[in-house]
Amino acid sequence: MVSAIASRLLQAFLTLLLTSVVVFVLARTSGNPVDLVLPAEATPAERQAFIERNGFDRPLPVQYAVFITGALQGDFGISIRTRQPAVDLVMQRLPRTLALATVGLLVALAISVPVGVMAAAYRGSGWDRFGQSFALLGQSVPAFWLGIILILVFSIHLKWLPSSGVGGWRNYVLPAIVLGWSISAGIVRLLRSSMLDVLGTEFVKLARAKGLSERRVVWKHALRNALIPVVTFIGFMYGVIIASAVVVEVVFGWPGLGYLAYESTLWRDFPVLQCAVLVYTAIIVGINLLVDACYGLIDPRVRV
């Protein structure tokens, strides 16, 4: 158990290290880093001061050490566009992305748990085929395009829901549906096969033999056990949902971290983009760690 935790921590550390190295190397080796970080209208004196302050004349590993030390203290430089510290901009947007991702995940569960359970309980039936097609379709629809279609139907034609921005709960509906459906495919598939495994075990036969109703057997005894692998998967999915939120936030004008990253690309606001990418990675890695830690709570067999 201890070695498993150590291995997980090492994993998280490696992922963060890799991402920071990639971002750093890309920033330093492609063209002039001064152009990337300073605005175009900077004077030669400002440029010289910037080079000296950041030590761009020193060897790359030393520069990386300086960069990562600053980053660990929350210093990612100043936004080219707004002249605010990059980390402030990122932290401002972060809660909105987390809120949207969480609602999206809840939508995904609300869709995929009933579909997955029904597909397994009535395997080979119309329900099963519907569940599997539904999962496959969700996997095939590009999220950005689905978002546009929903806006076209529900915002422009029916005028039921807002097409962009934040405000009340109505703003959550469309983007959360897009995010939720796009990841529910994997959950349906996994839950179905996990349910089929559990439904074939001895204890389910025993529960049936005891005379419990089929509904109780499926929804209580079997589902509870079948959910164990799904929980780990959900942790992994949270990372996927946050990453795919970039596209969804852009389509729905949702002012979250993904939209900020996108805007930074347009403005070539590298300090903000760099900070956003590393914060993103840290969150995904952190959630994966948290899920692994929770795994022991859900499945007693993993406990020490």
């Binding site: 291995s7 090492l10 994993q11 490696l14 992922t15 890799l18 991402t19 990639v22 971002v23 890309l26 920033a27 492609s30 063209g31 990337l36 395997r123 080979g124 099963d128 085929r129 599997q132 496959l136 379709l137 996997q139 095939s140 629809v141 590009p142 999220a143 950005f144 395009w145 546009i148 279609i149 806006i151 076209l152 422009i156 996994l190 096969s193 089929l196 495994d197 074939g200 990372g239 990453a243 795919s244 970039v246 596209v247 852009v250 389509v251 990253a261 996108y262 930074s264 690309t265 347009l266 070539r268 590298f270 983009l273 760099q274 956003a276 990418v277 993103y280 990675t281 995904i284 890695v285």
Partner: protein
């Protein structure tokens, strides 16, 4: 999934998915022959006929069967040429990811020990890699291009291949015929190529088919964000993005290329699922 449940898979999923196979074959054919079958030059501008609706709507004409975009470019021709770019990126990415991943997967599985641990830790690291965001960084630093997208996709894909191949190799290498080959004096690389790889091919075909759809969707998403293949190239994701500002008046500009993505990706996924059931019962839970 246990062997018992696998054998009971519904019979309905075993029959040939004709429609999906035809769409897959057609999309590959279109990608190869786009230059011959497209009615117009995909980048030719025709301002007089800008935002012309598709033929089935009022004001549409057979000259532009799926309408034109805001510059008067033919939507159908752009979609046909888009197939070339979408499938091309997917093919290059799968080639990079498949070759690297398979090689490292065989090495990890066959050698075991610290080599295995190192390669698999590296694979896990790349699986958690935020590919969309790294693509955004690449778009700002080295500039967006076909090869950047293919490389970013390959970076994630190799890890998926490595994981799959390693698992298979672990199962195969304890078999008697591998031990026999070793006794006969065969060396590691020979055993890997002549005895292990042929047994992994089925799984590789299934994984490739299932990843084509993923690659097409991610490429389209990146291009939609401006971090993929840059304009004026006719890409499906780029077309959807360009039409976004005219969605209320000329919806077909964004909707048509999306339908193309959906059809092709759905078809590849259906074929992949079917292949998985046919060729590789072990993969069924993936």
């Amino acid at each position: 999934m246990s062997a018992a449940t696998g054998a009971l898979a519904p019979a309905s999923r075993r029959h040939l998915p004709w429609v999906a196979l035809i769409i897959v074959a057609a999309s590959v054919l279109i990608a190869v022959t786009a230059g011959l079958i497209a009615p117009h030059d995909p980048e030719a501008i025709d301002p007089i006929n800008a935002e012309l609706p598709p033929v089935f709507l009022d004001g549409g004409a057979w000259t532009y069967p799926l309408g034109t975009d805001r510059l008067g470019r033919d939507v159908l021709s752009r979609i046909l040429f888009g197939a070339r770019l979408s499938l091309g990126v997917a093919a290059v990415a799968l080639l990079i990811g498949g070759l690297v991943g398979t090689a490292l997967g065989v090495i990890a599985g066959y050698r075991g020990g610290w080599v295995d641990a190192l390669i698999m830790r590296l694979a896990d690291t790349f699986l958690a890699f935020p590919s969309v965001l790294i693509a955004l960084v690449l778009a700002v630093t080295v500039g967006p291009s076909f090869w950047v997208v293919a490389l970013v996709l390959g970076l994630v894909l190799w890890a998926r291949f490595a994981r799959l191949v390693r698992g298979e190799v672990l199962a195969w290498k304890v078999r008697d015929f591998i031990a026999l080959a070793r006794v006969a004096g065969a060396r590691g690389p020979y055993i890997a190529i002549h005895h292990l790889l042929p047994n992994v091919v089925n799984s590789l075909v299934v994984l490739c088919t299932l990843q084509v759809g993923w690659a097409i969707v991610v490429e389209a998403s990146l291009t939609f964000l401006g971090a993929g293949i840059p304009p004026p190239a006719p890409t499906w994701g780029g077309m959807v993005a360009e039409g976004l500002d005219f969605i209320e008046t000329a919806w077909w500009i964004s909707v048509m290329p999306g339908v193309a993505i959906l059809l092709v990706v759905f078809a590849f996924n259906v074929v992949g699922d079917w292949l998985r059931d046919r060729l590789d019962p072990q993969l069924r839970a993936v």
